[in-house]
Symmetry: C2
């Protein structure tokens, strides 16, 4: 990618301004971010039961786990324990049940998955003694976004020591404005432990971001285990700064539970010097190590092997192939590559195009949609 | 405290060099930090069972919880699942049981609590089919330190995908060189959420630090709830940047489970401007707000009230009363305080001494040992 320190932050919000005055809204709690596509609110304040229960008839672990996670977030401060006396007093909270209805049992997380939802939080119905908030969504991923919104509406009141929802009743209809809402992590220049990556994914879900663009590998290091070419991760910064295949699975599954796609990137041919630590044949020569040697079959065998390994780990249909910042001096200064260019009647620019297109074809033959940096677009 | 950005780091290791060559040790794994008081190691490599079980006959939740925490840390990478086939193959790991023996059932965490332990990790005994590591400690807090050392000896091997202990057999006898191994957190100048404080306490336990010196309050903000004087936390940065009494209990209990004392500090009389937001009488005048008004009884009533609230929350026998950087100009420029000095035949320096000693007496009458900054030592 373009700059060594890059943590490219592609942030696309669902904000739609509607007819609400931002000036007056900014002064009044609660904050919802990003702003839902449509919402109405009122002037009631509702208390939320610390024993908030889930009413959900489906069997998705994604929903059950998310409810527990958000409950921990909402009640991170100790609240007045209801205690046994509560049973004598009867229900004393306005919202004691969160009802979740998901219309589809399909949990596949693919690009463009439906993330829409409706969230209603009403005052206690005079006909009912149980206060309820209701989430309706087409998929579990919509339900995750609704839980995030619900949690943002829940505010701890330090004086009363209860969690409150201000400006109820709420009626929210929301769907993301953009299908791709991404964050790039570069672990090729700076190793991040698995736990840190998980924290970042957690924080993405709080902002309703949905694509972790994992720039795994770069010139400086190759931290990922690739069983097809097991010496590649010899190019890691150290033997400790690595990801096993199991680590990568773990990250993908953790992200899926938060509605976050993981798009892997291997940036070829210009950002791949580290590959040659394990397989020096990938370097044009031991003194000129980048871009990858376009003249050798092994180069494309290794890319193909990596792509098939990535396919097993990452179900997301997009795979990023980089393609930026290719300085072809190495190809021209290395005799056998220069000869290959001549034999194939190619300029270095032709060879670059050949390389990028051949890598794209490999991705497509792996049933993946290839993505490249804009600078690598070919005329 | 002396500097606004201060995060004063008092780090006292148990390192004893013994006769071991540091040069040769530095090149060879594993690292133990701080270095135990005494240890011997060998040349064997032992594998650790991902299903490592605990053999412990006591009933301390501190030990059970710590074992689970450290097991998660040791096996943070997925290891080869033993699978059903393992039963057919018989035990395949060298260390499959961690035995913990604690001699005392007393879990009180006080200054000078015994943190010594012995840790043995042997090769499988030819007479036994179950590999074991053994921890012996006088208190549960020694067992915590031993678990930390054990976890530091456990290294994930990325090639074999198992956790290994290098340089076994290990025999370690350890006790801290200093009873007070502290870290200061200043939440009076910079609010830290409860979860962040917990992360810091976790990291302290990894370095075997044992005192969180919580500089809760300062000029800039008063984030702690004090039921005796409930308006004090009006001096918080915001209504969100506060700690309830329950939050503070939560922190103390979290720290206790990691063998970490929490020593609260209220820094009087020079670092207490924020107190007057809720109780303006504590300021000498509305234009001169520091140090606290030495001439009024309410000043000492409030200190006494805070100290009795702190006593209920913090069982640690030390309480810090600050006392540094007192500029007495306010006392001399405010007519009623100046008159009081004159009536009592005191110089400002006398009044400062009177203030510090009176606060110390209040701590002592609350069965607490008062601690002050060195600059406040009185001749």
């Amino acid at each position: 990618t373009a700059t060594p320190a890059a943590a490219f932050f592609l942030l696309l919000t669902t904000a739609t301004l509607l007819s609400i005055s931002i000036a007056s809204y900014a002064d009044s709690l609660p904050y919802i971010w990003p702003l839902p596509a449509f919402f109405t609110s009122g002037n009631a304040t509702l208390s939320v039961d610390p024993d908030l229960s889930l009413s959900y008839s489906g069997n998705s672990a994604i929903v059950y786990d998310a409810f527990q996670r958000y409950k921990s977030l909402i009640f991170k401060h100790a609240t007045r324990a209801p205690g046994p006396s509560r049973l004598l007093r009867g229900p004393s909270f306005d919202v004691s049940v969160l009802q979740i209805v998901v219309n589809s049992t399909n949990e596949e997380l693919q690009f463009g998955v439906d993330e829409s939802y409706t969230l209603r939080i009403d005052k206690r119905d005079s006909g009912s003694i149980v206060g309820a908030a209701t989430i309706e969504a087409k998929t579990v991923y919509g339900a995750l976004r609704a839980l995030e919104t619900f949690s943002q509406l829940c505010t701890f009141d330090y004086g009363l020591k209860t969690v409150q929802i201000y400006k109820a009743s709420w009626y929210i209809q929301d769907e993301p404005r953009f299908a791709y809402r991404g964050l790039l992590l570069d672990t090729g220049r700076h190793y991040l432990p698995v736990d840190v990556i998980k924290q970042i994914i957690d924080s993405m879900s709080y902002a309703k971001l949905n694509v972790l663009h994992w720039h795994i590998v770069d010139e400086q290091s190759f931290p990922l285990e690739t069983p097809t070419y097991p010496y590649l991760w010899k190019g890691a910064f150290s033997k400790w700064e690595r990801y096993t295949v199991e680590d990568a699975y773990d990250i993908v599954n953790f992200a899926k539970k938060r509605g976050v796609h993981v798009m892997p990137e291997i940036d070829v041919p210009g950002h791949a010097e580290s590959w040659g630590v394990g397989y020096p044949d990938l370097w044009p020569s031991s003194s000129c190590k980048e871009p990858l040697d376009v003249s050798k079959n092994v180069t494309f065998d290794v890319i193909s092997g990596i792509l098939s390994d990535l396919k097993r780990i990452f179900p997301f249909e997009l795979v990023h192939l980089g393609g930026d910042e290719v300085n072809t001096d190495c190809w021209e200064s290395t005799p056998h590559v220069k000869q290959w260019l001549k034999d194939h009647n190619m300029t270095p620019k032709d060879a670059y195009q050949y390389f990028v297109l051949r890598a794209q074809e490999m991705a497509i033959s792996n049933n993946r949609i290839p993505v490249n940096w804009y600078v690598s677009s070919l005329k």
